[in-house]
């Protein structure tokens, strides 16, 4: 079935260092939508990035990701981590002709000063 696998658990890094959170997916559908959601404690999960176009970089708020269908990946990157980036990050998959969104298990990013 359709699934999402992402860097699990806690990722700790120092402010100013680059961020990379891995996400790969599995689906038989050829045109999936991939998303990154950011979830701060006691707030709504918020859409950070989304893409359905192969090999096109998408950017928002300093984060970027490129959907690579050849490797079924949608890794989240940022050149320089900030303290305010500390949150839970979820990679998610949706199929164009369905309303179902499938989430990965989430990655807790903790940025240290």
């Amino acid at each position: 079935g359709d699934s999402v696998t992402q860097t699990e658990g806690l990722v700790t890094l120092t402010e100013g260092l680059p961020v990379m959170l891995n996400c790969t997916y599995q689906t038989i559908y050829s045109n999936p939508f991939l998303f990154w959601y950011v979830h701060y404690l006691n707030e709504s999960p918020r859409l950070l990035l989304k893409s359905s176009t192969d090999n096109k970089r998408t950017e928002h708020q300093g984060f970027h990701a490129t959907l690579h269908k050849s490797s079924s990946s949608f890794h989240l990157q940022k050149s320089s981590a900030q303290l305010s980036d500390s949150a839970l990050y979820y990679c998610a998959l949706s199929l164009t002709n369905a309303y179902k969104v499938i989430f990965g298990k989430g990655t807790h990013l903790h940025v240290l000063p």
Partner: protein, 117 residues
């Protein structure tokens, strides 16, 4: 902008009792509403998807008998957890999708956190 409100934010119920939670879309028409549960140490698990003018579709391991959902109009949905037990505790999220513009994007509420005693 699109906003989704959930009520209550936190609730505690006794084992075997029921608890109703609400989801309100503000500023857009929610043509479909997805209810998710995040159990402790787990990811968001889809319970059911409710789309206007279509039957509510429940995922495996979730039933209408346990999680009845009402979606009476394009701005409101509610779900009840019937006979709640310890395994039902967690964060229940409502995700609403608008009809056009942000296709396939879910806008989430902040969730209802259910504790069961």
């Amino acid at each position: 902008g699109a906003l989704v409100y959930q009520y209550p934010r936190r609730t505690i119920c006794k084992s075997g009792t029921s608890m109703r939670m609400e989801c309100q879309a503000v500023g857009f028409q929610a043509t479909s509403v997805a209810w998710y549960r995040q159990s402790p140490q787990k990811t968001f698990e889809l319970i059911a998807l409710s789309t206007v003018n279509s039957a509510i579709k429940y995922e495996q391991n979730f039933t209408q008998e346990k999680f009845p959902i009402s979606h009476p109009n394009l701005s409101f949905s509610s779900m009840t957890v019937l006979n709640a037990y310890l395994e039902d505790r967690g964060l229940y999220l409502c995700g609403a999708r608008r009809d056009r513009g942000k296709r396939n994007t879910l806008y989430f509420g902040a969730g209802t956190r259910l504790s069961v005693l």
